[in-house]
Assembly symmetry: D2
């Protein structure tokens, strides 16, 4: 990649880093990406609603949409794009048609996380002035770099001798476990021969390429709302049914669900809220969490236990509880042939190619839904990792990526795409 492209992609990544947006509200993000894509000039460009089926997981509320739209307007998003995504169907899909040949889909995700970014001067985005400008919002998982890489790959392949069709999917709402599911029903995957899903970071150093990560945990989210009975906390605590005590009993026992002898499981209560005043026995309290497992069965084991724990915690405190689990992502397997092909391409790029490092990754990814959909249609899929020497773990306030990963990933992915058409 030439220095100019490189600078432009890094600039793009930093711009997105400054304005992280939560899933289904990537208004500025989608606008900025579309702007870059239009410069390159794909043969087709689908935006927002055009890449999704109608039904979505965890759609945003009207209030959330309104606030996000307002903020996006202030940052000068192209109003035409904004209109196309304003109902909360975000993301984009660019298509290059270069004659006969296979159809390759490169998938990157673009959403940020609801957390605050560090102000520590050792944190590069803080030191170099591209720290998040939004409170409680951060690109703490590298999706800003992903977006830049997606743009770069489109450009690199466009300038190459590739024969076939390249689709680059800028998928929204990955952190919500939501974005991939509605792309699956959109009609854009049926003709895909090879899917390359991409991630950077992974606690692996820059220069290392993992051609086929298989260790994603299956995941489901859940919500529970406890309903008790209010009472004056001073003169009649016995007349109450304490929703926060029920919630707390649940939290303790959820995290104490027995580990499973057959493989990794996870549980996390990530959000709680309840009560209205110190002198009222709280009538209502709710929590949100997630369960994961190395396989769907292991995830289901945790889910079954969690449902029982939630019910019994409510009963212990004479409360009712409403529990709902929502579809997350399954596990998925990479196709050996495709892994071998991308592995060979990476080896030509002076990268250290390593096999999957296994359990150490332990995250989840809704890309597994795309992989399964492509495989069901007869295509192959793999999940490619690029080390980026991240100084601290994903989802932490000082997460960052070595920007050298951007040109490296662009070049390597472009090689991979071209190798698949050979």
């Amino acid at each position: 990649m030439n220095a100019k492209s490189r600078s432009r992609l890094i600039e793009l990544r930093r711009d997105l880093h400054r304005r992280p947006e939560i899933g289904w509200r990537e208004f500025y993000t989608t606008g900025r990406i579309v702007e870059e894509l239009e410069d390159i000039g794909p043969d087709e460009l689908y935006v927002g609603r055009e890449i999704h089926r109608e039904e979505r997981i965890r759609p945003p509320t009207d209030d959330q949409l309104a606030r996000a739209r307002e903020r996006a307007l202030e940052t000068g998003v192209d109003e035409d794009v904004l209109e196309r995504v304003a109902d909360g169907y975000t993301g984009a899909l660019a298509v290059l048609e270069r004659g006969e040949g296979p159809t390759v889909l490169v998938r990157v995700d673009i959403d940020g996380l609801p957390q605050s970014e560090s102000e520590d001067p050792d944190h590069v985005p803080a030191a170099e002035g591209f720290r998040s400008e939004y409170g409680e919002r951060m690109h703490a998982c590298g999706h800003d770099a992903h977006a830049a890489i997606g743009v770069g790959v489109l450009e690199a392949v466009a300038e190459s001798d590739f024969e076939g069709t390249l689709k680059v999917l800028f998928q929204p709402a990955e952190e919500l476990g939501a974005g991939a599911a509605s792309v699956v029903g959109s009609g854009h995957l049926e003709d895909v021969d090879s899917l390359l899903a991409v991630h950077v970071g992974l606690d692996v150093e820059t220069g290392v390429v993992i051609p086929g990560i298989e260790s994603f945990l299956a995941i489901n989210g859940f919500e529970a709302t406890f309903e008790g009975a209010p009472a004056h906390a001073g003169n009649s605590p016995h007349e109450g049914a304490h929703a926060i005590q029920a919630l707390s009993t649940a939290v303790g026992n959820l995290h104490a669900i027995p580990r499973h002898g057959d493989g990794a499981t996870r549980i996390n209560v990530g959000v709680v809220e309840g009560g209205t005043a110190t002198n009222i026995v709280p009538e209502s309290a709710s929590l949100q969490g997630e369960v994961r497992g190395a396989t769907t069965e292991l995830r289901n084991y945790v889910e079954d236990h969690a449902a029982r724990v939630l019910r019994s915690a409510a009963e212990a405190h004479d409360c009712e509880v409403d529990v709902s689990f929502r579809d997350g992502a399954p596990s998925a397997e990479c196709d050996d042939t495709l892994v071998d092909a991308v592995s060979a391409a990476a080896a030509g790029r002076d990268a250290t190619v390593t096999p999957d490092e296994g359990d150490a990754l332990g995250g989840s990814e809704d890309a597994t839904r795309l992989m399964r959909a492509v495989q069901r249609s007869g295509g192959d899929a793999t999940y490619v990792g690029f080390g980026a020497s991240n100084p601290t773990g994903h989802h932490t306030a000082t997460f960052d990526v070595d920007e050298a990963v951007i040109p490296l990933a662009v070049d390597t992915l472009a090689d991979m795409v071209r190798a698949l058409s050979a």
Copy 2:
């Protein structure tokens, strides 16, 4: 009381019931009361900042003030009054000067609670159309009736042969345990010979008067914020320090603090909040609660245990915790002479006069601060209860008072005030 006054006071109570406001934000409430007071024409009328010292417990945030002001404007509050209370110093004090004689202070409180009111058709305010118009706000402790009674007493005494000085204090922010404290430093109490604090309801039927309630529990509030470490809940839960687990361990153990053999204690965690996303080990979580005891010593016993429980819960989950207790209200004793005097006056009104029913009440009241301040200056104080056949407990969604208590309390209190000047 004549039928007209009676109708007017009931109308006032219902109007306030429709628009309950949280402590330090009683903008509409203060405006409406001032309007009524001006009709009566007291000799002096202090509003807002004029009845408080500067330093306050639990002052409102700028955001809260702004939203409350906006809502008050929409409801047509007199802009002059609104200006005088707009910085969040609310409430009013009306003074009648009727020549030589003792100074008597009647104190009523005026704030609502942050909870939703029932829509049940058996709930009188719902059936008769004066249910709260504000979500998550309710007069669930009878302070709407208190305000009406305060207005009525001023009017009744103004029309009587009373000799001396009557002050009627419309105190804000009782539910926050905050309003009385800043009145204490205001200079309005030093000359008070007799203080009559008033409450209706108390799970006692209409027609019963308790001339000296002594069973208020001493109370303090507390807040605790747990700070842990965020981490990706899937691939590195071990790198997190889970603030919500710490909070939950605390909640369970706080409510399990041993009962005390020497008398009643209470603890309530009334509000919790924490975390940002299901896939992030939560970095931060906070709770708000209160401790009570039949005496200051018993309250302190619970407080000491609570502080230790909060610290150890943080330690268990490798978190830090910031704990703060804030001054609530002490216990207080009624003066026998005054109790006897008001008891005699009540007996003349066909009321059933009963002594304090003791522990069964079990609430707390920041009126105890006013009582102690008056007693320190050499005056006497008592806390007078008027039964009002409340159908369900204080602080519940179906709390209501029998409005017959309003004229009864006005007449009886006016008799008491006059008896004190005899």
Copy 3:
């Protein structure tokens, strides 16, 4: 009382203090008391089975009886007495018949507690050489003094001009909440006109007499056994159902049952046991506890909550639970006439007579069963307390009584008995 009697009673108390025995196993204790009683020569003397109906609460196991019998033999108990109590029906009842007159029953209890006694040199029994000789056994509630007082009263009344019938009941198994219940069905209470139940200590100083304690809490005991499923803790923890996790969830939530606004409640899990090995998920765990309340209703409130908490804790961990509550003791009221009579007698003895100090006592007593039985038959009952300057609380390792209470209580009780025959 003369010095000789005094010395003898103190010697008796110290001898019993050295050999504390658990309820239904007071073999040495009963033997020693019978020996003293035979010296006095009552008109009738009932021992062991003769004072109980057959059915008992918490009878001892055969093993417990065998071990207790063996130990008693070693200490030289009269074999004839031992035979009469060997099946675990312990205690004695001595009767004086002195012509026409009322029947008065003085009731003392005689059992010890399953706890270790302090070796602290400041602890009088340790310093003076009459500390418990049995590990995990202690007279930590003054029943050793009670036995001595009972003997003293029989002797003092025998030597007096009393006219009527005096019964002195040496009741076993009070600490188990068991001894009184089977005396109730024995036929010894039907003719009692006045019952005086006795206790020393009470955190009140020597010289103070409380003629009618009414603040005993109603009490019930409970046991719960959790049954889960065992599993290898290393390779298949997911196949287990963890009985100790269920038990622990229960303990936390039991102690966190909301306090009651209407009066004092108590809950205590006093004994737990579970599991067999560190590498097996524990299949079974059990707990024993008790609930109390200022009234039967308050006790039942705690009991109902406890039952629900136990069930839900089992469910949370996929266990079964078997819960049983057993009859404890109700609350009881002293008869005013009798209280006045004993109060007058005490006043003649230079004692400081005080009314019931109320909630501060807060214990429970199965004497309330005897009181209720006597009242049902038309008699009167009261519970008399004698302060004994106990240095630390009842049921602690350094509990002790000022032995001066023994002659004082004997003399005062003898006066009371004689006063009732006047």
Copy 4:
């Protein structure tokens, strides 16, 4: 193997199954094994103390030894053997010296578990009359079959053309994580060239041989005793410090220690005990548990968290806690050369040879101490598994092994031993 040998070994296994003994108390077991060994006539036979250094992990108490000795006498153990093991150093080591050649050690373990065996008629030992005759004792991990296999291997090799030295170690106290440690310092391992540790079952079917299991979890045990303050649970619960509440808080939080992203961890509280009476706030309570990890680092992670949880749980309830961790077993790696050699030998026996099935095993083994010791001295080691179609998991009440594994393992191990001398 001929039918007679086969019958004899199965009879031996069933005899041991009837009389399971806990570690360091395998008196009958050692006696019975020695009897069989003497029939075969090894060149040297070391018994009890002769195979251990003096210092031991988790030695038995005098009481435990006395009871075990008494029971062993009743079952007719040879008194000479009993004398040699009576101090609780159990187990035996038989040595065959067959000229020049390598020294091979086959290690089997012989202890049972403290749990009850199923009476279900579908459970083979119940149906066929060799169910455990001892309450709360069971061979629920196949060590009865191990002992029989050890005897069989000695016999088969004795009758073969093996050249070299064969040692068969009958190791005690494996379930306590204790037996291997004291063999390490005994001097019997220094000359070992090849160590074959053996286990049957493993949830794998009969006929499958795993030549080198590496997935044993590192393990440590721990004990914690909470010391609080006793108090009368009725009248002064506030004066107590509740050791059982502390214990319960610990149990909940121990099991909720965050899972680790780098691999498997385990924690189990297997035994609890505390308190003395329902009406005393419990002064003391203790627990025993274990922590495991896929590596020593992972185990240490859990251990560090556990120590903090135990301390903070004590603090929450104003108790002291005494925590001790004891050395368990490390993880270990099998030597490839040796694995290949035994693998080849097994293949000749019509066995299905499979590589280690990995995390699914998840147990721990103190054989890893022997493996490390042999490797430190320059020898090779492996851990060989034989499937035995166990119907339910290890450490459950219905665990059993297909006895066909006994001749198969004997023949295969004998082949392996001979192969090593070739």
